[in-house]
C-alpha cells in the first residue's frame, strides 16, 4: 500500500513542480547568452540587461525552492486535513504509510530541487575558466569538510552524512508535525500550523545556543606562517550532542504526527 500511496502522491504533486523546475532550466539558457555578451562587450545597454537578468534569476531560484517546500507542505495539509481527508483516511492504509509516502516524495523533490539549481548554475556559468576555479573551490571545500570535525577524516565523513540524513528527517517532520498541531485548532488551522512551526524554530535555536555555550572552549591555533590566534572552537562532543538532539526531535515530530493522525483526527 505504501508503494501505491507513493505513486498517487507523486502523480498529484509532480505536474506543477516539474513545470516550475523546467521553467528555471529554460530561463537559464538566455542567461548564458547574456553573460557571454556582457563579458565580450561592455556597454550600458548590455550591463542593464545583465543586471536585471541576474536579479530575476536569483529571485527565480529562491522562488522555486520556496514554492517547492510551500507546495508540498500545503499538499500535506489539504490532502489529509481538508475534505480530501475524508477519502484518504478511509483508505485501508495506516497513518504511518500516509506519513512515509509523503515524506519520500518530499525527499525526492528536495533532491531534484538541488540538482535543477545546480544544473541551472552550470548552464549559466560553466566554461574553461570557471571550471578550473570550481575544481580548486571543491578541493578547498573538501579540505574544510574533513578537518572541521576534530578527530578523524573518517569520523568527519560519517558525521556529515548522518547529520545530513537527520536534518532531512528533522526539517520535513517538523513541517508535518506543525500542520498536525494546527489541525487540532478549532479555527485558523493555517495560523496554528505556522505558529507551531515558528515556535519550534525559536525553541530549538535557544537550546542550540545553550549547547554551544556549554561545549565551546577557547584554544590557540597557528594560522598562516607563525601568527598565533586565540579562538573559540567547538569540541567533538558539541557536534555529537547536536546530532542526537536533532535526531530525538525528528523522532518526536514523527511520533507526534502519527499520534495526532491516529488518535486525534479532527476533520471538520
Amino acid at each position: 500500500m505504501l508503494a501505491k500511496l507513493f505513486k498517487h502522491e507523486w502523480k498529484a504533486v509532480s505536474i506543477l513542480l516539474l513545470l516550475i523546475h523546467g521553467a528555471l532550466l529554460v530561463f537559464s539558457f538566455p542567461g548564458r547568452i547574456i553573460i557571454s555578451m556582457a563579458s565580450s562587450n561592455t556597454g550600458d545597454y548590455v550591463d542593464i540587461i545583465f543586471a536585471f537578468y541576474i536579479l530575476f534569476y536569483v529571485l527565480g531560484i529562491v522562488l522555486v525552492a520556496f514554492m517547492t517546500y510551500l507546495y508540498l507542505a500545503r499538499r500535506f495539509m489539504s490532502n489529509l486535513f481538508s475534505d480530501e481527508g475524508y477519502l484518504m483516511h478511509t483508505l485501508p492504509v495506516t497513518p504511518a504509510q500516509h506519513l512515509w509516502s509523503k515524506f519520500f516524495v518530499f525527499v525526492i523533490w528536495m533532491i531534484i530541487d538541488l540538482i535543477v539549481i545546480g544544473l541551472s548554475l552550470i548552464i549559466l556559468f560553466l566554461n574553461k575558466e570557471t571550471l578550473s576555479e570550481l575544481q580548486s573551490f571543491m578541493v578547498n571545500l573538501w579540505d574544510a569538510f574533513i578537518t572541521s570535525f576534530n578527530s578523524s577524516p573518517v569520523g568527519n565523513v560519517f558525521y556529515w552524512m548522518l547529520s545530513c540524513i537527520v536534518s532531512v528527517f528533522y526539517s520535513i517532520f517538523s513541517i508535518y508535525f506543525s500542520i498536525c498541531i494546527g489541525s487540532l485548532c478549532k479555527t485558523h488551522k493555517v495560523l496554528g500550523s505556522l505558529g507551531t512551526f515558528i515556535g519550534i524554530g525559536i525553541v530549538t535555536s535557544i537550546i542550540s545556543s545553550i549547547l554551544m555555550m556549554i561545549f565551546q572552549y577557547t584554544t590557540t591555533v597557528t594560522s598562516g606562517l607563525s601568527t598565533a590566534v586565540t579562538t573559540q572552537v567547538m569540541g567533538d562532543a558539541y557536534y555529537l550532542v547536536t546530532l542526537v538532539f536533532n535526531l530525538l526531535l525528528a523522532l518526536g515530530f514523527y511520533f507526534g504526527s502519527h499520534y495526532i493522525l491516529s488518535k486525534k483526527l479532527n476533520l471538520q
Binding site: 500500500m1 501505491k4 505513486k7 498517487h8 498529484a12 505536474i15 475534505d83 480530501e84 481527508g85 475524508y86 477519502l87 483516511h89 478511509t90 483508505l91 485501508p92 492504509v93 495506516t94 488518535k263 486525534k264 483526527l265 476533520l267
Partner: protein, 232 residues
C-alpha cells in the same frame, strides 16, 4: 451470524459538548437501515466513528467483530456528506485510484453506471456541477462489493429527479448479505427502501424499529412518525 456493526455504550464528546451518549446498537447483515434524526442529532458523528475519522470518548464499536482499523476499512464503503474528490482528476483517474486501494472495487460496474448517467470517463471533475460530482462519488462507493455501506446524506445535494436514480442505484448495487446504513433527514424519499430505522435525537437513540412495525402496528408512515417525534 454475528452483527455487522455493534456499538456498546458508545459516547463521543467534543470538549464539553456531547455528540453521542451511551449508544447501544446492533445492525444485522443484509438489511437497509435508516439512521434518522434532525440536524445536529449525531448522525454524522456516528458514521465518522465507524470510519475511524473520529475516536470514541468512551465505549466500544465493532465492525464485523473488529474495532475500526485497516481491516474494517477494507469492508466498509463510505459516502461522506461532502465532496472529497480532487478537481484536477478525471473520472478514469479516480476509478484507477479506487481500484488500486480497494480489492473489492468493480471497475465494470462503475463504468456501466457512469455510462447510464451519461458521464464520460475522460470528464474532468473541475468541469462538473456539484450534483454530478456527488453522483460520481456515489457510483464509486456503490461499485465496491463491501459488507457495510455507510451513506451520509446521499440524496441531500441532488435534485428530486436524480434522487430516484440514486436510490435505485443503491438498491440494485449491493449484495444481499451486505448492510446499508443510510443517514438522512429526507425521510419520505428513502422510506420505501428501508427495512429498519433508528431515530437519533440529541446524541441518543430514541427508537429502533422495523419499518413494517411502524406501518402495521402503529399505522403510521416513518415520515409521519418522524414528524411526530421530532416536532419543534
Amino acid at each position: 451470524m454475528s452483527p455487522i456493526l455493534e456499538c456498546r455504550n458508545l459516547s463521543k464528546s467534543y470538549g464539553n459538548k456531547t455528540a453521542l451518549s451511551n449508544i447501544n446498537l446492533s445492525l444485522e447483515r443484509g438489511k437497509i437501515v435508516g439512521l434518522l434524526g434532525p440536524n445536529g442529532s449525531g448522525k454524522t458523528t456516528l458514521i465518522k466513528l465507524i470510519n475511524q475519522l473520529l475516536v470514541p470518548t468512551a465505549g466500544e464499536l465493532l465492525i464485523d467483530g473488529k474495532p475500526p482499523s485497516v481491516a474494517t476499512k477494507k469492508i466498509v464503503s463510505y459516502l461522506p456528506e461532502r465532496t472529497y474528490l480532487n478537481d484536477w482528476m478525471n473520472v478514469t483517474d479516480i476509478i484507477n485510484f479506487f481500484a488500486d486501494f480497494y480489492e473489492d472495487f468493480d471497475r465494470s460496474r462503475a463504468y456501466d453506471m457512469l455510462s447510464s448517467l451519461g458521464i464520460e470517463p475522460g470528464d474532468r471533475l473541475k468541469t462538473m456541477s456539484k450534483g454530478t460530482k456527488e453522483k460520481v462519488q456515489l457510483i464509486l462507493v456503490m461499485s465496491r462489493r463491501a459488507k457495510l455501506y455507510c451513506l451520509d446524506e446521499p440524496i441531500a445535494g441532488v435534485d428530486p429527479a436524480a434522487r430516484d436514480y440514486i436510490l435505485s442505484t443503491i438498491i440494485n448495487n449491493y449484495a444481499e448479505d451486505a448492510t446499508l446504513f443510510i443517514s438522512t433527514h429526507l425521510i419520505s424519499d428513502v422510506e420505501n427502501i428501508l427495512d429498519d430505522v433508528i431515530f437519533l435525537q440529541n446524541g441518543q437513540i430514541t427508537l429502533t424499529s422495523s419499518v413494517d412495525e411502524i406501518r402495521y402496528k402503529q399505522g403510521k408512515s416513518v415520515d409521519g412518525l418522524f414528524r411526530e417525534v421530532f416536532r419543534c
